[in-house]
Symmetry: C2
Subunit: 370 residues, 2 copies
């Protein structure tokens, strides 16, 4: 599974890296030029069950914030996304696909409205800062774009709320889904959002001051002992079953947001001034040719999906699995694939070709996988 990762300053450490090393991190990924812990002592299956039952602490600092501030900030953010942000209020988190002039996906961040003229884009793995900077420079927009010293720490799982209430008070319970409120931490005002890259409930603390990272980790870790806390990370099995997609895995610039579960967020009626609007209108008028689906398939536990696995109906390729894992709950393999429109009906029988040479029988599924 894990080959060696050679370290350098370029692969940035986070405010929590010392701590994840202390609790036995075994493997990392690299996202936004920064370490993302991806494996601890537990197996991925043990980690899956634990996340569903208890609470975990995740170093997701690699969800870097692109801060866009100034008189033209709202205009620039709106220009990059086909989701209307006109009604967003301070305290709101919006999932906003960012696209290019062809409708291709550049990233799929969560936007936090910090002030009327200040936004954070909590990004997946691509340099949105450079895209926004290019747009702002060429259009002469009055904005400042930078990456503040903000390092999200996720507290995920069904016991996350009780744990954070024990530290920050009952007010935590009043945070709505995809909303945030501010709380005092060590004499500073910090953002806690009800969000995160799992379907088990939880929060993300957008710690704005890396020097407090060790203290914040320690405080949650200590209080978490009463809740059976463990170190964790986005769990591949759980996110596949839950239909949480990953930029760079399921989505690239070759894809558009209409192929994903984003249509409900997107305004194509011309009321939004955004890049790529005409391209998306054309795609919508023609009808999308493929959509994201789950695939549940049999056979032995699959290896890591580092090259996509063809999804076949007979001798015809109808998709490719871009993330896959063995689910101990479903006692089957689960995967995510864009599926051609003639075959995307739930229940469609398919085969999956895995690199071990096996032809595995499966069927198309919706999300969350039952």
């Amino acid at each position: 599974m894990a080959d060696g990762l050679n370290m350098s300053r370029r692969i940035r450490r986070t405010p929590y890296t010392d701590r994840v090393e202390q609790v036995g991190v075994r493997g990392f990924s690299v996202v936004n030029h920064m370490l993302l812990p991806k494996a601890f002592e537990a197996t991925i299956e043990e980690d899956y069950w634990h996340l569903r039952e208890h609470v975990q602490l995740w170093d997701v600092s690699c969800q870097r914030q692109v801060q866009i501030a100034g008189p033209d900030a709202e205009r620039l953010v709106q220009w990059m996304t086909p989701r209307s942000i006109a009604r967003a209020k301070v305290g709101d988190c919006y999932y906003i696909p960012i696209i290019d002039q062809k409708g291709g996906l550049i990233n799929d961040p969560v936007m936090l409205k910090i002030a009327d003229d200040r936004f954070w884009l909590s990004i997946a793995d691509s340099d949105v800062l450079l895209y926004a900077s290019g747009l702002a420079i060429a259009a002469g927009l009055d904005v400042e774009i930078d990456e503040p010293d903000v390092s999200p720490l996720a507290v995920q799982g069904p016991k996350a709320e009780d744990l954070l209430v024990s530290l920050f008070g009952e007010e935590v319970r009043s945070i709505g889904f995809f909303k945030y409120k501010r709380f005092d931490m060590f004499g500073t005002s910090q953002v806690i959002a009800r969000s995160g890259y799992s379907r088990q409930g939880g929060f993300e603390i957008y710690l704005d001051d890396g020097s407090l990272g060790g203290a914040l980790w320690d405080m949650i870790w200590e209080a978490g002992q009463a809740y059976n806390i463990k170190p964790g990370c986005p769990n591949l099995i759980e996110r596949i079953e839950g239909g949480l997609f990953s930029y760079g895995n399921e989505m690239t610039r070759e894809n558009n947001p209409l192929e994903y579960d984003m249509s409900k967020f997107i305004k194509l009626d011309g009321s939004v001034d955004c890049i790529g609007l005409q391209a998306l209108q054309s795609i919508a008028a023609e009808g999308v040719q493929r959509e994201i689906r789950g695939v549940v398939f049999d056979g032995s536990k699959v290896p890591v999906c580092s090259k996509p696995w063809p999804v076949m109906v007979g001798s015809r390729q109808v998709g490719q699995i871009t993330s896959g894992a063995w689910s101990p709950r479903l006692e089957a393999n689960v995967g995510v694939s864009l599926i051609d429109r003639d075959y995307w009906t739930i229940g469609q029988e398919v085969t999956v070709l895995t690199p071990d040479g096996l032809v595995r029988n499966g069927r198309v599924s919706g999300f969350p996988m039952a």
Copy 2:
């Protein structure tokens, strides 16, 4: 040195990854969302001596090409860099810093002029494609920007020329430094440039068709047996001694090109229409406050530099080492640091604070380190 790297489709494999696995890769880094092999069976010191005496094959596919093509291609490339490209000819390679409106470094690619209206930027680790796209979209430029299926394979070391002559003929010898010519490979026309991320001489083959990767690797590997070829990668010791800097390590957006060995490439007289020109003119008028230097320092072999090490004169911090290693040739540690102007004279005595708690004596050096 190496913790585990967890694989996924997002961390892209290259056309040569199967081959580097066959020859015993032990560790990777991640550059431009792609695997860069960083360790094989040899120690870094063995690898250093081998590179200086023989020939190595490096999978540097992660040097992705940003292709800018169309009627406005030259205008866009020129807009991003303060180096004049007006006299560049097809067949030229130019090292061009790319900057933002404050003069901050976005990347430091090698530009290949492929045709009058087509350029490749062979990039370091940041998404230049997104910066260029943002600029082009907002300025309404008539260009196509994409990442072609081009995967550089480097042949580095003093025997590289003889090896490539044995495969592609005497014409290889006529390729000038930072020039390229086209050669037939498997019935396709491919670029070979005299360039690469070492000071030992060599070439980079810009293979334009990933499906030929295995065949190209095998052909060079087989012919290379007569030249004692080994698999390799940019060698940290060799690049530090040679003054080859690394974006993300020595350079970030906080730095400007005048702080590096780039002044000779940069036109500040107003004859070049580029972003950040005024900022660079102001910096030049004030005088740069720090410049890149080597530091040679004593004590036992240093660990990996994943957090910068302070460089001190007495109790004053005058720089920070961002890449460091033990040189078996100099029998000393070597590092790279920006050094404050009052202390950047060659021979200045300094101390270096390494994370093992040692205070090491050293001196400021130029490049290449003698």
